[in-house]
């Protein structure tokens, strides 16, 4: 496919995605699909950021929700304490707080590897969760932070379902472009190099610790922005947003979709959202097999489609083309 054609298709898809609530209105009068897609896109941004670590840099983090939660709380608290709802301020606060937290945690974890890295990120994230859960004065504690303001840009109120969706969709497109650009850049290739053979990279003169730390902070910042969007979507922040369940959810999304690819986290978010939100509403609540379904899907992917859905898609495409 000629690059220009491919670009045009991608651009068209992006425009269609961002304007979804408007062209879908005739058959989607209840806004249910819009909110579903919005939440799936928030998850996709979160998963894209984790994929930077897990897929590209080879850093399996089980504590990524700490930054998601930090961003969510920062947006909500900044809005309330600074008595402003302007997005540049609150999203800026979310990005800043998440980045700082990622810096602090990153410095501590960056020299670990494998299972130790996993456990260390898990442990430090659980400490963040514990703080969110117990520090009632600041975060609302176990009862959560309610009264998250309306996202405003100058005089435009983004809190309506359609505009909130547009905000999320635009952020998603931006995040996807960023990750795509990074992957092709020398920086992205250096990250892959660190994942494949750190010793050699060091011998080549790269400061591998700094590379990994920068990836960690970047991933944390994007996760923080996803968290802020989530806070504005539901107008509420729960301590669970920073919890282990959320970290595992993102991890599963990345792996099922296909780690290290652009389409992977996106496909994974679609599938996970489908299983979490659509399947339960179709099945009688007694059967309640969404957890077991997720588990079986997971096993199946690992056993038969290790590259995730994107890999499976690629294989099928190749097979089809070679006919």
């Amino acid at each position: 496919m000629r690059p220009l054609v491919r670009w045009a298709l991608v651009a068209a898809a992006a425009v269609a995605l961002v304007t979804f609530p408007y062209w879908s209105a005739p058959w989607e009068s209840t806004r249910f699909a819009t909110t579903l897609l919005r939440d799936a896109l928030v998850l996709a941004i979160f998963a894209l950021s984790l994929d930077l670590l897990v897929g590209r840099a080879g850093m399996p983090s089980l504590g990524h929700a700490a930054f998601f939660g930090a961003g969510a709380y920062a947006a909500g608290i900044a809005g309330q304490r600074l008595a402003t709802d302007q997005l540049p301020v609150t999203l800026g606060a979310a990005a800043l707080v998440a980045a700082l937290l990622a810096l602090v945690i990153g410095v501590l974890v960056v020299r670990s590897e494998g299972i130790f890295f996993l456990m260390l990120t898990l442990a430090l994230a659980q400490i963040v969760f514990a703080i969110a859960f117990q520090w009632t004065a600041v975060t609302g504690g176990s009862n959560g932070l309610s009264g998250v303001g309306r996202p405003m840009l100058a005089t435009v109120d983004f809190s309506s379902p359609d505009l909130m969706y547009v905000l999320v969709a635009i952020t998603f497109v931006a995040a996807a472009l960023l990750v795509w650009g990074l992957a092709r850049s020398p920086y992205g290739r250096a990250l892959i190099g660190v994942r494949e053979n750190e010793r050699r990279m060091r011998a080549l003169g790269y400061d591998t610790a700094r590379l990994r730390l920068s990836a960690f902070v970047l991933a944390g910042t994007i996760a923080g922005i996803a968290g802020a969007l989530s806070a504005y979507s539901t107008r509420f922040v729960s301590a669970q947003d920073a919890g282990l369940g959320n970290s595992v959810r993102a991890f599963v999304t990345v792996l099922v979709g296909g780690a290290g690819t652009l389409g992977g986290p996106i496909a994974g978010s679609a599938l996970v959202s489908l299983i979490e939100r659509v399947v339960p509403s179709l099945l009688p609540v007694e059967l309640r097999i969404s957890e077991a379904i997720l588990g079986l899907v997971f096993i199946a992917f690992v056993l038969f489609a290790r590259q995730g859905m994107v890999g499976l898609g690629r294989q099928t495409w190749l097979r089809v083309r070679s006919r």
Partner: protein
């Protein structure tokens, strides 16, 4: 804190540590032998507890449950290892991922079969009393748990160092390929190791039930979380690591939760973070050469 109080809390910490050791030993064994972090370990622990519930309900015997649960879990392990793990030999991360999937399925099945109510198991008659000790009475069962933990550690150590199977395991830990080349049936060895790890998790489910209870969510908390903490803190894959880990985490968590109440939720993770920051491969961990 008075000296009496310190002594009582020390006993609490030790018995808690003993439970942690019994819980973590299986995970440590499987990792040491097969380089697999079995994230279904918590689900095995949970299944052991629920099997014990049924056995006690049917027969009234806690001791029978202590035999039945490990047996049932061993069977499950013997089925799962060839089914899920064997074809992923060498793909360590994938083996970990597949165990996550297995855990989700097992926990859901437990909910379907046994329901989602909160249950409990009592200590067996004979062990359910309390004895007079410094500072008042102390439950006999917790003293039993300490004794059992010690006995298990000793038994595992003896098997590990003094028997042929232990030698095979030690050799497998060092170099499984070479072992295979030398004519040992590594498939059978790995399957039995995984089965033993599962059996130990099931045993922990029974023994810990009178203290930790039997309820939905127990696979993660305390099951998997605490086993991971002990194994990683102690140093992956070695028996002495699991012992060291439980001896540290047990008392540290007990005292920490009580002294730093407001952050009690975070104490155990603070311990992990502290240890890993000071000794990145755990207390007694060796740096492994990745093949």
């Amino acid at each position: 804190m008075s000296l009496e109080l310190v002594f009582q809390q020390a006993l609490n910490g030790l018995s808690f540590g003993a439970l942690l050791f019994i819980l973590a030993s299986g995970l440590s064994l499987v990792f040491g032998m097969m380089d697999v972090v079995n994230l279904a370990h918590g689900a095995f622990y949970m299944l052991g507890a629920y099997v014990a519930l049924s056995v006690v309900q049917l027969t009234g015997s806690f001791w029978l449950a202590m035999l039945a649960a490990p047996l049932a879990l061993a069977l499950l392990g013997l089925v799962l290892e060839p089914l899920l793990l064997r074809r992923l030999r060498g793909r360590h991360l994938d083996q970990v991922l597949v165990t996550i999937g297995a855990s989700l399925v097992i926990v859901d099945i437990i909910g379907q079969l046994w329901g989602r109510e909160v249950r409990s198991l009592s200590a067996p008659p004979g062990l359910d009393g309390s004895v007079a000790l410094i500072g008042g009475v102390y439950p006999v069962y917790r003293l039993f748990v300490i004794a059992f933990g010690v006995a298990l550690a000793v038994a595992m150590s003896v098997v590990y160092r003094r028997t042929k199977i232990g030698m095979l395991i030690r050799a497998g830990v060092e170099d499984a390929e070479m072992l295979g080349a030398l004519g040992v049936n590594t498939n059978r060895l790995f399957a039995s190791t995984f089965a033993t790890g599962a059996a130990l998790a099931g045993l922990a489910g029974v023994i810990a039930a009178p203290v930790f209870g039997v309820q939905p969510g127990m696979d993660t908390d305390p099951g998997l979380l605490y086993s991971l903490v002990v194994v990683v803190v102690g140093g992956l894959g070695t028996l002495s690591g699991a012992v060291a880990g439980s001896l540290l985490v047990g008392p540290a968590d007990t005292f920490g939760k009580v002294l730093f109440q407001d952050v009690a939720l975070a104490v155990i993770f603070a311990i992990v973070a502290l240890v890993l920051l000071l000794k990145p491969t755990g207390l007694l961990g060796r740096i492994r050469v990745t093949r």
